[in-house]
Amino acid sequence: MQKFTQLNGLVAPLDRANVDTDLIIPKQFLKSIKRTGFGPNLFDELRYLDEGFPGQDATNRPLNKDFVLNQPRYKNSEVLLSRANFGCGSSREHAPWALVDYGFRAIIAPSFADIFFNNAPKNGLLLIQLDEATVERLFKEVEATEGYKLLVDLPAQTVTTPSGEVLSFEMDPFRKHCLIEGLDDIGLTLKDAADIKAYEEARAKVTPWIFA
């Protein structure tokens, strides 16, 4: 997993609440058995004017010029700014895979859906929750200023705007540690293998049918 410490990234505004995982990566692309290659189909139905198919070369497809990520000023953006309940819907981890594959490293929104909130950091994608009013203000600033970048500092848990304003955000200490170190959860859990075995032994007496 890619480590996350600091990032000074161009911001793209996606002004929409309840961005669901079907929108982030439509189902036809879930047929892949790989973890990579989803970037060209991120927000497929918003980004292109035609219907996308897995395995197709996306370079010559007709672009929806109105869609924010297709505007030249947001090319190579690394921070996505969006509205409440981002990532709702299905549990597909293809959603964070697609966002990361496209080049996003952090998402800022007033709130995130639970499963997406769990999935994203496991793929090195930082989710930053800021209150509605602050997000609203950032939208205005981003739209008004071409080349608007935010400096994200995970160890300090801050976001700094071009004008020097410092915004703090909350972060689960466990997730923070894993992101900064690029740690794999499984390796960490397996350090507790003895506890898991002890639990199983005790539990097998109470609920033997589970272990049949």
């Binding site: 047929k31 981890e93 898991i196």
Partner: protein, 472 residues
């Protein structure tokens, strides 16, 4: 101290509480399907890891299996879409390589994973159960702690039999009173989502209780818990009672003999204590719930069949106005248009929300002796599993549907998410018994209206939405 059902289930599965506030939770049952598992198996292989406890796992392909008899005849090799075929084949290969029990494509026990688990008794009260699918909340109907996980967590559960979790808050949805005839579990849950919104349950385990819930069959309770995630709650729960025990007893994976007795003694304690504290309580009067129809592109955009499509000019705030406008635009609807005036192109009866035997019976009762409207392009009935299909055929339901003009298909997710050939065309309106009406969910540009099975059948016959209460 008085505990909620969720508290009890959490405590029983706590392996270790860590200092950072996270906890290691033991997972009793893990269900797998072809879409969210290949990358997890690949991860295991790359790390040289093995499944921790093989017998915890049960797999079946469902999301992109074809549903026509013709395409199913040759099993996996007959799947025409090459990428779908590779994915189903990959599940077979992985299950074989790791020794995981799988109900393959043409096994009579194959079906939608959330129909198969309960049907086999693989879902039991008191369990923790996960699956790489957000509708895993379904299994909470059995007083089991069940939720969807992403692919990294699928791999984590395979390798460690545990998940790293934080405890959620407790939300109680109390539904008392008697449902009107023709109003079903689906209408209850749509009304709940309409009331609290798609993020209303975020961060909560959502328990459904009250007389209207305890009177429901297991099928009805599964429909309700299935859609907890559409209200933002990863976990839906219903207490264990005699209805639960009667359903579970004798199923292939359920405990037998002495172990059954032992299990029942514990299971009978699986309810929230009378004085348990919930962080939030929402109450609904069952008698006031009318048949529901969703009109927009989020399950919270829902209302009574007798209502009008809302007017964005009357939205509560700017954000709501914008989302209503964009929903009406996508759905091709006018503000203040009657829901009953929406013309339909297709009807879909199926999905993990509504493809169990009781759902098919309810739809067949409406369809019996009637004909699908000639204006409809297609009306599909897709049973949730091979065993549901068999039972329906024994009851003659297939004949009722076919005579009325419905297509009778092989089990799978089908048009719920259109990963196989069953999908909506651009701009088409569909009355669907599934759970999500997101843009493009049932096909590129497709327009989904969520309803109950009886409402879907009635809509198929009328060619537009009708109040099914006026039909009986």
């Amino acid at each position: 101290m008085a505990q909620t059902l969720y508290d009890k289930l959490w405590d029983a599965h706590l392996v270790k509480q860590r200092d950072d506030g996270t906890a290691l939770i033991y997972i009793d049952r893990h269900l797998l399907h072809e879409v969210t598992s290949p990358q997890a198996f690949e991860g295991l292989r790359l790390a040289g890891r093995k499944p921790w406890r093989l017998s915890a796992n049960l797999a079946t392909p469902d999301h992109n299996v074809p549903t026509t008899v013709k395409e199913r005849a040759q099993g996996v090799s007959g799947i025409e879409d090459e990428i779908s075929r590779i994915q189903v084949q990959t599940l077979d290969d992985n299950c074989e390589a790791f020794g995981i029990t799988e109900f393959k494509i043409n096994d009579i026990r194959q079906g939608i994973v959330h129909v198969v688990g309960p049907e086999q008794g693989a879902t039991l009260p008191g369990m923790t159960l996960v699956c790489g699918d957000s509708h895993t909340a379904t299994h909470g109907a059995f007083a089991a702690l069940a939720h969807g996980v992403g692919t990294s967590e699928v791999e984590h559960v395979l390798a460690t039999q545990c998940l790293i979790q934080r405890k959620m808050k407790n939300l109680l949805i109390q539904v008392d009173g008697k449902l009107q005839k023709g109003v079903t579990a689906k209408d209850i849950v749509l009304a709940v989502i309409g009331e609290i919104g798609t993020a209303g349950g975020t961060g909560y385990a959502m328990e459904f209780a009250g007389s209207a819930i305890s009177e429901l069959s297991m099928e009805g309770r599964m429909t309700i818990c299935n859609m907890a995630i559409e209200a933002g709650a990863r976990v839906g729960l219903v207490a264990c009672d005699q209805t639960t025990l009667d359903y579970v007893e004798g199923r292939p994976f359920a405990p037998k003999g002495k172990e059954w007795e032992q299990a029942v003694t514990w299971w009978k304690t699986l309810h929230s204590d009378a004085d348990a504290k919930f962080d939030k309580v929402v109450k609904l009067d069952a008698a006031k719930i009318e048949p529901q129809v969703s009109w927009g592109t989020s399950p919270e955009m829902v209302g009574s069949v007798n209502s009008l499509v809302p007017d964005p000019a009357k939205a509560a705030d700017e954000n709501q106005r914008k989302s209503w406008e964009s929903a009406l635009n996508y759905m091709g609807l006018q503000a203040n248009q009657a829901i009953t005036d929406i013309k339909l192109d297709r009807v879909f009866i199926g999905s993990c929300t509504n493809s169990r035997i009781e759902d098919l019976r309810a739809a067949a009762e409406v369809a019996k002796g009637r004909k699908v409207a000639s204006t409809l392009m297609q009306a599909l009935v897709v049973p949730g599993s091979g065993l549901v299909k068999k039972q329906a055929e024994e009851e003659g339901l297939d004949k009722i549907f076919i005579e009325a003009g419905f297509e009778w298909r092989e089990p799978g997710c089908s048009m719920c998410l259109a990963m196989n050939a069953d999908k909506l065309g651009q701009g088409e309106h569909c009355a669907s018994t599934s759970n999500r009406n997101f843009e493009g969910r049932q096909g590129y540009g497709g327009r989904t209206h969520l309803v109950s099975p009886a409402m879907a059948a009635a809509a198929a016959i009328a060619g537009h939405f009708v109040d099914v209460r006026e039909w009986s």
